[in-house]
């Protein structure tokens, strides 16, 4: 059990997918114009990650080694399609603002990377914890980035106003702000980790 907890914490801090491994940068930059958007994207990815980790670690002995990657991709794409359809049905506004990045979870290197590096080698339970850990790390990173951009850009956090919107730097809600905010957050994370 302690091993599983360690796997979970590793995913959040030491192997944080965005700040340390620098994977999944496209959704991290594109969907974090506000805290809530970042968090939803993180949760959607987490769901796919956990489900695909469980299924792949269950099937790992049945999948022939040669067609490993295509098989993983089909499993991942199935769960992505589920997320896509559920979101379109119940959260159309959110599905609209995340747009094309929902189907693009398929090519998110984090999901395929964890399937290949972890789920294909470990048992179901630790794969589940790995999925939760990495997914949580991704969600936290996206939420942090989304909140930073929302706060500097519009003076709000999760739509709660802290200072008038007129004083915000709109640039941070737009494309350039995504790069700049993520750059500084990675630098801060580097600094903290080193000490």
């Amino acid at each position: 059990m302690t091993k599983n907890i360690r796997v979970l914490i590793n995913g959040v801090v030491k192997d944080n997918p965005v700040f340390v491994l620098l994977l999944g940068m496209c959704p991290a930059l594109a969907t974090t114009s506000s805290g809530i958007n970042g968090m939803s994207m993180g949760l959607a990815t987490m769901f796919v990650l956990i489900c695909s980790n469980i299924v792949i670690s269950t099937l790992k002995n049945l999948i022939p080694d040669l067609v490993r990657i295509p098989a993983f991709i089909v499993v991942i794409a199935t769960f992505v399609t589920i997320v896509e359809m559920v979101m379109n049905a119940y959260l159309p506004a959110l599905a609209d603002s995340l747009g094309i990045f929902i189907p693009l979870i398929v090519v998110n290197c984090i999901v395929l990377g964890r399937a290949e590096a972890f789920a294909a080698k470990n048992n179901v339970l630790s794969s589940l914890f790995d999925g939760i850990g990495i997914g949580l790390g991704f969600t936290l990173a996206l939420t942090a980035l989304g909140l930073t951009r929302e706060f500097i850009g519009t003076g709000k956090m999760f739509s709660v106003s802290f200072f008038p919107e007129d004083f915000g730097m709109t640039l941070f809600v737009l494309a350039p702000g995504a790069f700049i905010a993520l750059g500084y957050l990675v630098a801060i994370f580097n600094k903290i980790q080193r000490e």
Partner: protein, 193 residues
């Protein structure tokens, strides 16, 4: 005229990397040298054009007549993955010099979200086959342009003294942010068309 509009918008206004955030991983990964940036740009152009045509035909000829559009994501990603493999094999046989130039980048392209992204976007935008191809080529040109500009800046950046915590990716991201700001100057140009 319509096609010129698509081209200008796809390259400058809605640049695929700097405004739409597609293909960031290779953008950061292979932009340390100008040579590799050019190679990657060429490989993306090549694969993106072929992939867009194939996925467009599949969507119109197979998925829509049978009413199974919900299989779009699965179909497209599998087709793209096998297409990249096939392109690699064909180029290796037909044109060894081209393979020498693009070979290393081809396997990387499957997980490049530009390919799947554009394939889905042209369907969402309801383009015809011809405008899809124009859009794909222009997007790839925008990708190559951003990659090459960025790599020239990064070659300079490698010689600059940067605070320790900022070295590597953080400073590259901030540079990309400033580059994106420069590209924002093009917004509004599409009103002309």
């Amino acid at each position: 005229m319509e096609y010129i509009g698509i081209i200008i918008v796809a390259i400058f206004v809605n640049n695929v990397v700097l405004a739409q955030f597609l293909g960031i991983c290779p953008f950061l990964g292979v932009s340390k040298k100008v040579d590799t940036a050019i190679g990657m740009g060429a490989a993306v152009t090549f694969v993106l054009t072929i992939a867009t045509i194939v996925t467009f035909l599949l969507q119109k000829g197979l998925l829509e007549p049978f009413g199974i559009q919900y299989l779009q994501t699965i179909t497209f990603i599998l087709v793209i993955a096998s297409l990249v493999q096939m392109v690699e094999i064909v180029i290796k046989k037909v044109s060894p010099p081209l393979y020498q130039a693009l070979g290393v980048f081809l396997p990387l392209i499957t997980t490049n979200c530009v390919i799947l992204g554009v394939a889905i976007l042209v369907i969402q935008k309801d383009f015809t086959l011809l405008s899809s191809v124009v859009y794909a080529v222009a997007t790839a040109a925008g990708y190559a342009l951003a990659l090459i500009i960025f790599s020239t800046i990064r070659e300079q950046l490698a010689l600059t003294k940067v605070p320790k915590a900022m070295q590597g990716v953080p400073i590259a991201l901030i540079t990309a942010g400033i580059l994106a700001m420069a590209f924002m100057g093009f917004s509004g140009i599409d009103q002309v068309f």
